[in-house]
């Protein structure tokens, strides 16, 4: 197991290196440069512009810029925002807790709704419950989240006055989390529900499930111990991908609910062509993606005996 983890951690190095290169090169392709942003939009001449390019190191060859960028990254220096002049890494780290909290809460919503409903739909396929849940799932995927957000705010904040409409609370509290988590989680709940249902339907037809039933095991045990564990592997993969999606894809939710997360920060950075900040946000999301993938792969180790056997055989 330890060797497996070390192996996976070693694989992260070239992946993160690749990410940094792609992020760096992708932002070079965008029109304009940091010197223009730094100088503002008028009242500077070519000399000022060249001096600023020199100061920011933009006059150097691309590979030198990348080398310096990478060296600084390794020292934890993501640069400074050209818009606010704050250091990028602390600024991102200040926003990360809000993003992770929202992502975790949304994921809970998605799992709590998606998995049980998916199982029930699979156990009783084509029943009214199944049809109802699939219509619900379809709506969950189709309804635009900004519209759903505004509707929930109108009902639960304005008319019923149960929950706050915006912000994270001072200090942060759970009440402020409820509505954004429901809106963000509901779309993923629909996806997880559909995935769980189809995987369960497939697994329930396998021989080992038939054998378990033939042995006279309770249906509850057959479903939860034998079928669900096997059906969960694709669901876990989806959840892994969803976590990062929940962080970087929550821009609209963060704007509507005034949630101080990283997605809104990245959106604003793109809007103002704040390249260092945008680079930092994209790289941070890439790092999160890689780390979550590692965690998901580790979970496979527990969920899928074949991976365990392969690992054991390798270790042996």
């Amino acid at each position: 197991m330890i060797k497996y983890l070390l192996n996976r951690l070693a694989q992260l190095i070239p992946v993160l290196f690749g990410c940094s290169l792609v992020v760096f090169l992708a932002l070079q392709l965008l029109p304009g440069d940091a010197a223009q942003v730094f100088l503002g939009d008028r009242e500077y001449n070519q000399t000022d512009y060249q001096a600023m390019r020199e100061y920011l190191g933009l006059d150097e060859p691309l590979y030198v810029q990348y080398y310096k960028y990478l060296t600084n990254l390794l020292q934890g220096d993501f640069g400074r925002s050209v818009r606010t002049h704050e250091k990028v890494l602390p600024a991102i780290l200040e926003r990360i807790p809000a993003s992770l909290t929202l992502a975790a809460a949304s994921l809970c919503v998605a799992l709590v709704i998606g998995i049980p409903v998916g199982i029930l739909s699979a156990v009783k396929p084509y029943s009214r419950l199944d049809q109802g849940s699939m219509i619900g799932a379809l709506l969950g995927v189709s309804i635009p989240n900004f519209w759903m957000a505004l509707m929930l705010i109108l009902v639960f904040s304005l008319y019923l006055d149960w929950l706050p409409a915006s912000g994270r609370g001072t200090p942060p509290d759970l009440k402020h989390l409820v509505l954004p988590a429901i809106v963000l989680g509901s779309a993923y709940a629909a996806t997880i529900c559909r995935l769980t249902r189809s995987c369960m339907l497939e697994v329930l037809n396998y021989d080992f499930v038939r054998t378990a039933r033939a042995k006279g095991l309770l249906e509850f045990v057959v479903i939860n111990k034998h079928a669900l564990r096997n059906a969960l592997i694709p669901v876990v993969t989806e959840v892994g991908i969803s976590i990062v999606g929940l962080i970087e894809g929550s821009t609209v939710i963060e704007v509507v609910f005034a949630w101080p997360g990283i997605a809104r920060m990245a959106f604003q950075a793109a809007q103002y062509r704040d390249y260092p900040m945008l680079q930092g946000c994209v790289l941070m999301v890439a790092i999160l993606f890689v780390v979550v993938n590692l965690i998901v792969d580790t979970l496979y180790y527990y969920l899928d005996p074949r991976i365990k056997f392969a690992g054991a055989a390798h270790e042996g």
Partner: protein
Amino acid sequence: MKRSSLFLVALLILTAAVSAASAQTPKRGGTLTIGFKEEPDRLDARYQGRRFILFPEVFESLAVFGKNMSDIRPALAEKWEQPNPTTYIFHLRKGVKFHNGRELTAEDVKTNIEWRSKGVPKDWPRMRNLEAMSKIKEVEILDKYKIKITIDEPGPMMVTAFTGGDTGLPGIIPPETAGKLMLGKGGTLPTGTGPFRVKEWVSGSHIVMERFDEYWGPKALVDRIVFKFIFDDDARLIALQRGDVDLAEQITGAGLPIARKDPNLQLHSALRTFRDIKLYYNNKNWPMSDVRFRQALTMIVDFDKNVEVLRGEAVRAKSFMAGSPWANDPAVGNLFPKYDVAKGKALIKEVEKAAGKPLPELVYVSPNRDVYVKIANLHYAAYTAAGLKINLKMVDPNQWLRDRGEGKYDITLAGGGGPGMDPLYQARMFGSAKDVGLIERDGFNIPRWVNKEYDSLIRKAQSTEDRKVRAKLYQAADRILMAELPAAPYYHEVYTHAARKYVKGIIMMESGDPHLHTPAGQVWLDK
């Protein structure tokens, strides 16, 4: 009476009603929570944004606006004198404390002014400079509380430049904190001399300010102000209706009728004469270089009707100097070409025939912002109906600024102006040299228009302080603009903010921002 005039009257009545309401005895205490649209980039007097809310609570300059932007009153300087046209002597108020407890002296003021007049270290962000600041030749300390400022040539805007805003000297900060508080967030909290001091800034969430008890002037009536950043317009209005915030800024579009109907809310509107919106033609490109074509473009669009479509978010500006009451000659507005599609089409044909070549496709570049998009679509419809080929480009605001700065447009809508309702700022949009114009990246003004007679009038107006003389010069300049039409004057923006009824003493100014603490009054809560 035209709709725009009716709207103006309604605004005046509203302002009068607000003034009457605020005549009650002010109460002390409470927390004022404001739903604020956009988090500032930084909270640093050296780089103040264009807002007149949030910054003036923390930072102060030598003078300050009172009831409006023509009403300039002493602030950190208790008085000033002008022994000759190029010399100003400012007498600083004694006992003014920075939020860090140190007393303000002439040395602090000199350092702060020189950051603007002489330049800043390379690693500081660039400041926006008004000519008034670059005209400063020397700042001399006469004693601990007295400074002498010598300028190159006489100018009417020196004192206005010291009343805040981002075009002059926005505020004085203790120099020992420079370099530490460029951000306001993620570092040392901003330090000024204002009636409130910043207690907390949570990035993306809120700023908390507390009353500064050692403030030199009238102490703030509210104990605390919380600026909550709520970018979404609907969410901001709902937060106000719920009572999560006491005041929500910038209520627009569909939110306006909802806010008007809510019995718990009061609306405050301000006509932003401070900033005029104009439709610019790129005079460098043919056929825009032909005055007949510019007249034709102006005739085929119903400007009055377009402004009505903006439903209370704008009021028509009939001339270029319309925003400055003392300089504006209403008769100049009559020179604006009348809406006449047939005549416009005939002029277009005349231009095409004279040139002996077909008209090219015209590029209309617009930032993809609400009102700008509405106007762009209306113009597209009018131009294409008149048989013109238009390439309508809706781009993000930064791209638009770049395109505009490099002259990559034929037609575009842009704003411009400055504090004090002074025509100087409108006039400078059309000056073709650096001393009289706002010059873009390619060395031209926005419309790429050159008129030496115009430049000469503006140069004269800039070097005299006599308002009567200046008014005549600006009116003459306005007539040249009307005849030449390098652009078309369009509208003044109207900013509307909503507050719970217990919020009293809000003063609206030409900036469009609600002012919370001015020598003319301050906000308080009647809870």
